[in-house]
Assembly symmetry: C2
Homo-oligomer: 290 residues x 2
């Protein structure tokens, strides 16, 4: 199994994309059939999802810093759905849009290598980044790094996330802080000239009180930040995650962008572009990139 | 999204399969190309993996209590590989062999529903059980239970698993014990007439000192037990997991069975059948099923 040869490392590519767009927005693709615009012509479910997804890629490619593909929404259509993920990543690549495959994989090392192959190339997909679950320990995260970047789940945005993640350890940390320390240890030797690593973390915007402390625990770790919008999180409340140079957080929004309501006389792609553009501008202000 | 209609629930089906085979063995399918028998005729990688996998299903269907399909080994071949998973699960179903899809999924609730659809039916696969990562909390495990059974990662078999799982909590538990308690709470209202639930746990055979305590913490929770053989775990050292009626543990072995060396004059399928049969017999003795 050979290491994927990339022109630039995932972190550098992402920083450049933030700078080019003047924002820190990741558009999340998690389509469900019953919310797709009626203007999508195809009748087969997988064709509809593909057509919609490729439309979104085209609409946001010059606005978003990154695209996040929610693997589950495609996997539910079996092999045909997984083929759509490859189509999306290929289309994003042609438009120089970095891609996070949001698949939350995690397994022992020998199996992690297979998941890395699936996410990052060869006969699998060609994503830049993969979301990863570190419950099995840091050693199970390392195999991915031979092929791409990772965002490790640290403090997730869902309302019940604290059931395990906020338990208090005997040493005074919480479980999620312990996970943050594992992530920081993996990231430390991999921080590039731009000051950021290809080992990132998922930190929900729904926990503003923890943002400053998690940023301090994880120097050089870019945070992928879900929970904006529908889940009630606000970018300005977790601005600490952006760090001093503004590249430390990537705010991800899905439904508020991909299902944006078209204004009268405009089509759904214009609505998506407008919503992405507004969020990107706002994120650029929060991050200090504009 | 409709609930899958099953003739019997996953736990009852698994118990019956243990009783029928007089053992508690789960054969793990995690094929890699360079270890396949030369007798496999196909040249295309995906065809080789399919041919091998279907051969294993046929060889062990009357011996193993269950089949475990390691999703990563197929996902690395993209959509074509995912199609093979469906082929395997269909073939196992025709032979009345229960299937665990070992994909270690885990995401917020809305996304968990998509993963459940992918694993348990419709346009996705038709597995009986799915391995699940509970780092996001018990609420994210519940959506799967509308459609099938789960084995939640509690104490994994890999050597670095303790980095997070064995951290001490302020209340005296370890992180994995806290996860065991989350699993037990999910399982309690779902224990069937046979005494076991469709909420199971993954507990590695490489931690014998913890077996009795984890069994006590998780009444009615069937443990899927990896780490036998290549990883150094022994069934007899974790026999406590089997519980008083012997149905509480399902011992999973992969490489030691699917790559069993054929005796002179026998083919690879006979070697696999013999290895599965020997382990099933031994497991039946350990569990008290024989």
């Amino acid at each position: 199994m050979s290491t994927v040869q990339r022109a630039i490392d995932p972190a550098t590519r992402l920083l450049r994309s933030m700078d080019r767009t003047g924002g820190a927005v990741c558009v999340g693709l998690d389509p469900v059939l019953d919310r797709l615009p009626s203007a999508i012509g195809a009748s087969d479910p997988v064709d509809r999802i593909r057509s919609f997804s490729l439309g979104v890629v085209d609409a946001v490619s010059e606005i978003a810093a990154c695209l996040k593909v929610q693997s589950a929404c495609y996997e539910r259509y079996g092999a045909a759905g997984v083929g759509v993920v490859s189509d999306i990543i290929r289309a994003a690549g042609e438009r120089d849009l970095p891609v996070i495959l949001d698949a939350k994989r995690g397994d022992i090392g020998i199996t992690a290598r297979h998941y890395a192959a699936a996410a990052f190339g060869g006969a699998g997909h060609g994503a830049d980044w993969l979301t990863v679950n570190g419950y099995l320990g840091g050693e199970t995260v390392e195999p991915y790094l031979e092929r791409g970047g990772v965002f490790v789940l640290v403090r997730t945005s869902n309302s019940g996330s604290g059931e395990l993640q906020q338990l208090a350890l005997a040493d005074g940390r919480t479980v999620s802080e312990a996970m943050a320390d594992i992530v920081a240890a993996l990231a430390a030797p991999r921080i590039g000239p731009g000051g950021w690593s290809d080992v990132g973390a998922v930190v929900g915007a729904t926990h503003p009180a923890e943002a400053a402390s998690l940023r301090a625990r994880m120097p050089g770790v870019i945070c992928l930040v879900p929970g904006i919008g529908a889940q009630g999180g606000r970018m300005e409340d977790v601005a600490d995650l952006c760090g001093p140079d503004g590249h430390g957080a990537l705010f991800t929004a899905s439904r508020s962008i991909i299902y944006a309501d078209p204004k009268s006389g405009h089509d759904w792609l214009v609505a998506i572009r407008d919503a992405a553009s507004a969020l990107s501008d706002a994120s650029g202000v929060v991050a200090g990139l504009q």
